[in-house]
């Protein structure tokens, strides 16, 4: 023991490294290569983001050289292509906010209830069938949802609400909510299933029913995951385009009433981008200003999501 320790301290006494332990130059090269490849892949997505932000910001700077930020935020009209041009982004923001609120008021309760059912009540057979079908719903192209809203949901709603116009934030928002349900249900279910069984057993051992366990132990334990799924849902709702472009009408309309048609930030961008605007004109620049606004809104929610996740991290 002692003599070994001493010889290890003296390098000249060390035995020659055997072939098996010798450094392998080829392996070094291939490791480096793979590392470079991985870094490259990561860089693509980071650079894309940087590029998008750069374009949005630089074009928006041109826009704000012509329109003041105060007007942009306070004007109550959005008529960038008229002779009497107004650039009140709140008009579009109101459409985005109202349609998102309608969507979330459908998607959050429904998605959460489905997740609780799948995670805490359904047996494994039901779950194995139901979950893929549910996720399929998330794979339907949004244009299909858009026409579903316009041609099915709106007429049905008009039976109950006769004064509902043919295009409305309500009908587009409801269908958008249904579209978002699978995202919330799937992510929330994952979060609840990650709650360790020992916690559930503890609750059952105290005499709780399944529902009481689900609501009072599993949901609070999975809260950070639920919050993350809600935040993702908000980002989806705010960024959704086609359903709103098809079913909500595209008139810029400063309203908080879901029964009215209105344009949202995204549907405005689609509308203008489809038109024939000269590069560099003020109408063209509004696309970037609106896009930047959208980016900032989703950024706020992403930061909020990160914060929620850190605050309510799983501590079981």
């Amino acid at each position: 023991m002692n003599s070994q320790a001493m010889s290890a301290n003296n390098p000249s006494d060390l035995p020659v490294v055997s072939d098996r332990l010798a450094k392998n130059a080829m392996r070094n090269v291939s490791e480096r290569l793979i590392e470079a490849l991985l870094l490259g892949a990561a860089a693509v997505s980071v650079l894309t983001t940087v590029g998008i932000v750069y374009v949005l910001v630089s074009e928006s700077i041109h826009f704000f050289q012509q329109v003041s930020i105060v007007d942009f935020l306070t004007d109550t009209q959005w008529t960038p292509l008229f002779d009497d041009a107004h650039f009140g982004i709140m008009v579009l923001v109101s459409g985005t906010v109202v349609s998102s609120l309608v969507a979330l008021s459908v998607a959050i309760p429904m998605g959460t209830i489905i997740a609780i059912y799948l995670s805490e009540f359904a047996n494994s057979k039901v779950r194995e069938i139901a979950k893929p079908i549910l996720e399929l719903l998330g794979g339907i192209p949004t244009i299909v949802f858009g026409y579903f809203a316009l041609l099915v949901v709106t007429p049905v709603l008009q039976v109950i609400l006769p004064e509902l116009p043919g295009f409305s934030l309500l009908s587009a928002g409801l269908v958008m909510g249904i579209m978002i349900v699978p995202y919330i249900a799937s992510l929330s279910e994952d979060a609840m299933r990650a709650v360790p069984m020992s916690l559930r057993e503890g609750a059952y051992a105290m005499g709780s029913t399944r529902l009481y366990t689900a609501l009072h132990v599993v949901v609070p334990a999975a809260f950070s995951g639920l919050a993350a799924s809600y935040i993702l849902a908000i980002s989806r709702a705010v960024g959704e385009t086609m359903i709103l472009a098809v079913a909500a009408g595209m008139q810029p309309n400063l309203t908080w009433n879901p029964m009215e048609p209105a344009a949202t930030i995204t549907s405005y961008i689609v509308q203008v981008a489809l038109g024939d605007l000269p590069h560099g004109s003020i109408g063209y620049l509004t696309i970037f200003a609106a896009g930047l606004t959208l980016l900032l809104i989703t950024l706020v929610f992403n930061i909020l999501g990160q914060w929620l996740r850190a605050k309510f991290r799983e501590n079981y």
């Binding site: 047996n123 360790p196 020992s198 916690l199 559930r200 057993e201 503890g202 609750a203 059952y204 051992a205 105290m206 005499g207 709780s208 029913t209 009481y212 009072h216 132990v217 609070p220 334990a221 809260f223 501590n315 079981y316």
Partner: protein, 259 residues
């Protein structure tokens, strides 16, 4: 099995078999649980001690494919806990459990202890305050947490969390308290605190404890049962089991481990 001057029975397993699907995990177990005594279950891993313990509060009902045969009689009312007509939730209202790893709920210390009371529909603040304090004192935790009852339970140390889980189980005044290796995740000091607590608790409640640690069984229990491969090999007063076991297999296990 013939023990004279026996105390009153709290529960009794009668010809209990248990199956995980096709696999028979408990084989014809007969065993008394005496009132206000500590009974320890010892035996090598996989011998069925935890399976047996978890039959008392019907934990196996949570998973599909599990099946009981035989009876666990519960006294003084002589109910068969395993009867299909008996609601497992009612069983768990009378039989508390403390798990291997502390599993406090993601709530405050106060709400953890109040949990079982709230499950039973108690919402009166004064009653809750009172019972929470009493339970935390019973769990030997009150002095450490009385000034921070609203903090998250997960901020407590492992040993404190386990005592919190004991207090949580005590809050609803169970008649039988099951401990499933309650100290295997704890350091020696926290373990000593739990053992002392178990000793204290038997004045109020009957205790059934599974342990890997034979010294622990010798220290805390009045009665000991040795299980092996799903069978009850020997049951008796703890002193007798450890000093003069009747069965060769019990002796091998005890001497093999204790050296």
């Amino acid at each position: 099995m013939q023990i004279h001057d026996n105390p009153a029975l709290k529960a009794e397993a009668r010809n209990l078999n248990f199956y995980y699907g096709e696999a028979k995990a408990l084989k014809g177990i007969n065993m008394p649980i005496y009132d206000k005594k500590v009974t320890a279950l010892i035996g090598p891993s996989g011998c069925g001690k935890s399976t047996y313990l978890r039959s008392f509060n019907r934990m196996h009902d949570l998973y599909p494919g599990n099946r009981y045969e035989g009876e666990i009689r519960f006294f003084p009312d002589n109910t068969n806990l395993l009867s299909p007509e008996v609601d497992p939730i009612e069983v768990r209202m009378r039989v508390g459990m403390v798990f291997q790893k502390p599993n406090p709920f993601p709530k405050s210390i106060y709400e953890n202890v109040a949990y079982g009371l709230r499950v039973r529909g108690e919402n009166n603040k004064r009653v809750l305050d009172d019972k929470v304090e009493h339970a935390l004192k019973g769990g030997a935790l009150w002095d450490e947490v009385k000034d921070r009852l609203n903090e998250l339970a997960s901020n407590l140390s492992g040993g404190q969390q386990q005592r919190l889980c004991i207090a949580r189980a005590l809050a609803t005044d169970p008649e039988l308290l099951l401990f499933d290796e309650p100290t295997s995740a704890l350091d020696p000091i926290a373990t000593a605190a739990i053992e002392e607590l178990v000793h204290e608790l038997k004045k109020r409640v009957t205790i059934l404890i599974v342990t890997h640690n034979m010294q622990q069984a010798a220290r805390v229990s009045d009665y000991t049962a040795y299980m092996f491969l799903g069978e009850m090999i020997e049951f008796g007063k703890t002193d007798e089991i450890f000093l003069k076991p009747k069965d060769k297999r019990t002796e091998d296990y005890i001497t093999g481990r204790m050296g």
